[in-house]
């Protein structure tokens, strides 16, 4: 690499969040991915968050067509990719407009001035040019004619059309950011070699664009400072990037393998859950049987059928799909068959914001069915945790013979983090016992005879001679499961089912607490908010405030010790991407008068560390 042509200072910083934004056609996802791979290989902790446009391919240059990819990279452990970016690379006016709102005050903006022509400004609904009208005052703006610079760099590639040259400009801006953040180019250069192997001309062009972008840092006076982010102190081991949806798929496959069974996944495509189906459909060598059902009801019904047949059965969807499944979930619940239901939550109600995140289906999971219909509910906290919680859900399902809800969300589903790849041999087996054919003269088989410890009924599967039995949705006699309208039979079954789920608390690990064991303020969170909330609490703890944090992964039943934890604090702050559903659940369960301080954010986007930090500080200062 050439040395800088101008004086450059180096500054060591802990972490940076950078967002690449442009038109869907601009290759921003690729750019972001390259940046994060390079940083990962460099040894930083990283975490990424793509932001897709709602339309498949909206007209170029419009707000609807903006696509973004955010990378958080750090020398410390990163808990959330979702924080406010400090750097915004905006390839056109629409990208600037759509993303400026998120940028930290005083943040860096790198813009491609070539794209700021009248036509594009109009498409982005700008009345005047933001580069000129002062609306970017207060930010640190770097204006570069990226299109022109890139074309110049590729000028002598005569066999390449201008259009094709322009398509390289994402590598140009990537190169520039590599320079600023002092990243090596190797990873991307070798990626380009592989990716365009069939077209040497494109290999050449993209590499040149990358290097040209890098060199612009050297050559342009605009850039006076380079930043250095040390490798992080991560656990040693082999890592990969993983999104929540990938992790759910991997977890399910792992669970089925650990149970020695085929995996059945019945699902109807729906954003943001479809990738689970796609991922699983592609792993048939693990005896994964995916069933793209005609609708969510069929997805649920097929999952019940597969569970009856003895498979590890699961279904996945998002909120509206859960609504449709709810009648059949109740059937699963009274048939007492094990299965997993994943809800990758999105903005609701109704169709809502399909591509955005929200946590507003908690009470639906708990209560969204007729009658007394208890189901276990667990929620992964990070993309990588999705892997473990998927396995956990199957364990609980098999243990208690029940459908189990996994509440992921659009943010977890799509964002990626480095995942320390576990050794599959370290994961304990899931022991499934099917009763076998009875010996002659044995007692008649009782399909609802409960295990005294877990209250689970036996999982006898078709094909087993002598255990023929009928299940159904009507009121039942205990033990035999025969249809019964006898008042006390019904009451006992209702209570037994409730008790069975409550007994899962014996299995649920105790609630952990970060911070003092008791005190003034407890922050409670669940699901994907872990990163922002934990980081915020740590920051505040760093400022010597006594604030504790409990992040709940098991929502039904709650960990046994949660009750006593929440009672040891004077106030409880609950940041949630809904209007206060966990608060409702905690109050309803525990009858707590403790002042709960709801902190709702229902904007289709995750909390930022800053938001939560400020909220906490406003309470403790």
């Amino acid at each position: 690499m050439p040395e800088s042509k101008h004086h450059v200072e180096y500054q060591d910083i802990e972490s940076v969040i950078i967002r690449f934004a442009g038109d869907s056609g601009d290759g921003m996802q690729l750019t972001g991915l390259q940046f994060s791979n390079t940083s990962a290989v460099f040894g930083n902790d990283i975490s990424t968050l793509p932001d897709f446009p709602a339309e498949i391919r909206a007209p170029a240059g419009t707000l609807a067509g903006v696509s973004g990819f955010q990378v958080n990279f750090s020398s410390e452990e990163i808990l959330t990719p979702g924080d406010a970016p400090q750097v915004l690379v905006a390839m056109n006016p629409a990208a600037l407009k759509a993303n400026l709102i998120d940028l930290e005050p005083g943040g860096k903006i790198i813009v491609n001035t070539d794209a700021f022509n009248n036509a594009n400004l109009k498409k982005a609904d700008y009345d005047s040019n933001p580069l000129e009208d002062g609306s970017l005052d207060g930010y640190d703006v770097y204006e570069l004619p990226i299109t022109t610079l890139n074309r110049n760099a590729l000028a002598d590639l005569e066999d390449l059309s201008t259009r094709d040259k322009d398509r390289c400009k994402n590598f140009f801006s990537l190169g520039l950011t590599f320079w600023i953040y002092d990243r090596p180019l190797e990873t991307t250069l070798s990626y380009i070699d592989k990716k365009f192997a069939k077209n040497p001309l494109l290999v050449d062009a993209n590499k040149r664009a990358l290097i040209a972008g890098y060199d612009v840092g050297h050559n342009t006076e605009a850039f006076q400072t380079r930043f250095h982010i040390q490798p992080a102190h991560l656990k040693t081991g082999v890592y990969r990037r993983i999104t929540g949806n990938e992790a759910i798929a991997l977890g399910m496959i792992t669970a089925a393998q650990k149970a020695g069974k085929p995996l059945f996944y019945g699902s109807y495509p729906i954003t943001p859950a479809s990738e689970i189906l796609h991922n699983l459909a592609n792993q048939k060598q693990f005896d994964v049987r995916t069933f793209q059902a005609e609708d969510e009801i069929a997805a649920m019904g097929s999952t019940i059928g597969a569970a009856f047949g003895g498979a590890m059965a699961a279904t996945g969807t998002s909120g509206p799909g859960v609504a449709l499944k709810s009648e059949a979930i109740n059937l699963a619940l009274v048939l007492e068959l094990p299965m997993v239901i994943v809800n990758v939550q999105r903005g609701g109600p109704s169709t809502g914001l399909p591509t955005k995140t929200e946590q507003s289906d908690l009470l639906q999971a708990m209560f969204g069915r007729n009658g007394e219909s208890p189901v276990p509910v667990i929620a992964p906290a990070t993309p990588g945790d999705c892997f473990y919680m998927a396995i956990e859900a199957f364990r609980m399902a098999v243990r208690a013979m029940t459908p189990v809800f996994v509440l992921s969300d659009g943010y977890l589903g799509n964002s990626a983090e480095p995942w320390l790849i576990p050794d599959p041999d370290d994961i304990p087996p899931i022991v499934v016992k099917h009763p076998s054919a009875p010996s002659n003269g044995a007692e008649p088989f009782e399909p609802y005879k409960r295990n005294s410890e877990t209250f689970a009924r036996p999982w006898a599967i078709p094909g087993t001679p002598g255990l023929e039995h009928r299940l159904g949705g009507l009121g039942k006699q205990p033990d035999t499961g025969n249809v019964s309208y006898v008042p006390f039979d019904h009451e006992q079954m209702v209570k037994d089912r409730a008790e069975k789920i409550a007994k899962l608390a014996d299995y649920v690990p105790p609630q952990t607490l970060i911070g003092p064991e008791e005190g003034d303020l407890l922050v409670v969170s669940w699901g994907s908010t872990l990163g922002a909330v934990r980081s915020a609490v740590k920051r505040v703890q760093g400022q010597a405030y006594a604030v504790s944090h409990a992040h709940i992964r098991y929502l039904n039943p709650f960990p046994k010790n949660l009750d006593s934890i929440v009672r040891r604090f004077d106030r409880i702050l609950v940041p949630e991407m809904n209007l206060g559903q966990l608060i409702f659940l905690l109050r309803g369960r525990y009858g707590l008068e403790t002042p709960f301080i709801p902190y709702p954010k229902v904007q289709g986007r995750p909390f930022t560390i800053r938001e939560v930090t400020e909220k906490i500080l406003s309470l403790v200062e």
Binding site: A40, V41, F42, G43, T187, S190, P231, H233, L234, T236, G237, V238, Y239, R240, R241, I242, I253, T254, F264, G266, Q283, K284, Q285, F286, D287, V288, R289, F291, A293, E294, A298, G301, S302, T303, I304, G305, A306, A307, F308, G309, A311, A313, E327, A328, L331, L335, I421, D423, P424, P462, G463, P465, E468, H469, R470, L471, G472, G473, L474, V483
Partner: protein, 343 residues
């Protein structure tokens, strides 16, 4: 498993008391099913009955096999998952005209098009029995019921036309009172690989008594019913003196006194879908209504397709290995010295 001893009808009766109204056509269907199953040579433990909700859907409780009395209209969905989990099972779906064609219409058409290897028996009594007598999607226009006191204004569905229109590979019809015929149809349905769809004319003595009178009344039935036989011309009548001739795409009833059997339309179970459709349109009083097998064609079943992809995947990628799977995307290593990453 040792070679199974030949089962009898009794082996298929569960210990639960049968709870239909005295005289209900469902009894005959149950009896015939219990009589037919032993002939199939399938071990009892490999048979599963799945139903929805309705009088007819109580059926599984009375069969000493595996079974699920599921929820209204959804039996095909459970059956689909079950077959994919274990393609070896012999799965029967029991459903009513409301269960399968009203709330369950979507699942019916999709299981038919997917050609999942199950047998569907639709008890058509042209009424909602269990909910005490509202009109159903097969009730005739003008039918007065509790929910249509001035007569239903809805055009009914023809179950067999629906089945042909949604690519069913096996389509048949039989009648609750014609037990021998019914047994034969069940046997044929069981023998078919792929989804078998059987409509049974079933009498609800309480809410729609006599709906199929023309087809069951000894005096009239032979003139109103035409028994299909593969490869045979369409002949019917008490004296077998009438036949069906094709006039373009319209059926004509002709007298065998005037017309030679050679001119008659010849049934072909393996013929084009249009033939089965054409037959399904023959309705009282203008035409005799065919019973028997309308269509029986061979196509790959869904399970065959799905399972063969699994074998293919194993063949081309090797049996799934979690180590490989976990490492299947770009990886990097964090060593004690922190930076020594590689791609």
């Amino acid at each position: 498993m040792s070679e199974p001893i030949k089962l009898t009808r009794k082996d298929f009766a569960s210990d639960q008391a049968v709870r239909w109204c005295p005289g209900c056509g469902d009894y005959a269907i149950l009896a015939q099913m219990q009589k037919t199953l032993p002939d199939l040579g399938v071990p009892k433990e490999n048979i599963v009955f799945i139903s929805g909700i309705g009088c007819s859907s109580r059926f599984p409780y009375y069969m000493n096999t595996y079974g699920i009395h599921s929820i209204h209209g959804r039996a095909p969905t459970l059956a689909s998952g079950l077959k994919l989990a274990n393609p070896e099972l012999s799965v029967w779906i029991i459903t009513g005209d409301g269960d399968s064609l009203s709330i369950g219409g979507n699942h019916l058409i999709h299981i038919l098009r997917r050609n999942i290897d199950v047998n569907i028996v639709l008890f058509n009594n042209r009424i909602y029995g269990l909910t005490k007598g509202q009109y159903s999607p097969t009730s005739l226009q003008g039918h007065k019921t509790k929910s249509s006191p001035m007569g239903s204004v809805e055009q009914p569905l023809n179950p067999l036309s629906v089945a042909v229109g949604t690519e069913a590979t096996f389509i048949a019809r039989t009648i609750d009172t014609n037990v021998k015929h019914m047994g034969e149809v069940f046997r044929r349905a069981a023998a078919h690989k792929g989804t078998s769809f059987v409509e049974v004319y079933q009498n609800c003595v309480i809410f729609n008594d006599g709906a199929w009178g023309y087809a069951t009344d000894n005096q009239t039935k032979d003139d109103h019913i035409l028994e299909l036989e593969d490869g045979q011309p369409l002949i019917f009548g008490k004296e077998r003196d009438k036949g069906i001739r094709l006039n373009g795409l319209i059926p004509e009833v002709v007298s065998l006194a005037d017309v030679s059997p050679n001119e008659l339309l010849v049934h072909d179970e393996d013929g084009p879908a249009s033939l089965a459709f054409f037959l399904s349109r023959m309705r009282q009083p203008a035409f005799p209504e065919p019973i028997g097998v309308f269509r029986d064609i061979k196509k790959i079943t869904y399970e065959e397709g799905a399972i063969s992809q699994i074998s293919e995947a194993v063949a081309s990628r090797g049996k799934g290995d979690l180590h490989k799977l976990f490492h299947a995307s770009d990886t990097w290593e964090v060593t004690p010295e922190h930076t020594n990453g590689h791609n």
